[in-house]
Symmetry: C2
Subunit: 189 residues, 2 copies
């Protein structure tokens, strides 16, 4: 199909080699340097089993294992608000599978919302090349209703109830624009 294929190809090509996490990390660096927000990716949790301490050089971890993260990917502070989010990519076109999440991540996000934190997921539909700031309430609603049989969030609902983020030069992914909308909506009477 000549109408859509080349365009799709170009868009994907333009971002080839950079993951959503890398795009967010670059944006966070820009936000930090320009004094707009302090948001960091948390280090990967590791279970260290064996460490060597050679003389005259740095300690070497010789045996360690990846632990499952009990919280989310990113947190920080923005205009007095606590910010907490996950970043997830899907190649799915029509929905965002809940299998992208673990129970303890949802629990963590619910606890943060309880403390008046601003929680969301940055969802990238890779094939569509669309990125959304999705409010945690949408995620919670589908998560809590999985026994109904539905194991994913429909793309159309995300499109309707989330904030589309368009690429820019700096920051590459201006996702705080979506966060501003989210905060505005939460603060409505």
């Amino acid at each position: 199909n000549f109408r859509t294929a080349p365009t799709n190809g170009n868009v994907i090509y333009g971002n080839r080699g950079m993951s959503l996490e890398q795009e967010i990390n670059l944006s966070n660096k820009y936000y930090l340097e320009t004094g707009q927000a302090v948001i960091h990716k948390k280090p990967i949790p590791i279970q260290i089993v064996n460490v060597n301490y050679p003389k005259r050089s740095a300690a070497v971890i010789k045996e360690a294992y990846f632990k499952q993260a009990s919280t989310t990917d990113y947190n920080g502070v923005y205009h007095g608000h606590y910010i907490d989010f996950e970043a997830k990519e899907t190649r799915n076109r029509s929905s965002f599978p809940l299998s992208n999440f673990h129970d303890h991540q949802i629990k963590h996000m619910k606890a943060c919302v309880q403390q008046q934190g601003i929680c969301f997921t940055i969802v990238k539909f890779v094939v569509r090349q669309e990125i959304y700031v999705m409010p945690s309430q949408i995620l919670f609603a589908y998560w809590d209703n999985q026994e109904s049989g539905r194991k994913s969030i429909p793309y159309e609902q995300i499109k309707r109830e989330s904030y589309l983020i368009n690429y820019q030069i700096s920051p590459r992914l201006p996702y705080l624009q979506g966060v501003d909308q989210l905060i505005k909506k939460i603060n409505l009477p």
Copy 2:
């Protein structure tokens, strides 16, 4: 000296084997379980060099190195406030040495304060068995004035301008009491 020695001995004995970090982690667990705050220790940042992926078992990290932390030990959310702090012990009696900090940690805390985060240090004077929530402004003032020759914060000033935290049953270290005072003071007109 019969009057003081046994008491000191008892108090130290009571906390033997538990580091300040362990005491804080226990308290955070209590705060989380009782819905009072969501505050976690950040994982130690690690530079992974070599990973084995054996068939039928978990990935093993075979070579990795400790990276210097670019932020602080703990962060999270409490009553809508972003909370960010370091935990530090000193065996010094008369002052708290600035050598406990790195420049990028101070930079991080200053950036968080700029975003209206609540930043502080939990300082434990091990020999005195006294624990304080010390506002970041005291730390910043001494840090920025090191060329004057003074490389530590006097105990007497910490005692006067910080919040003493006494051990309890649950949470063991009720440091949010100090944070409440800090927030109250910041919000004064």
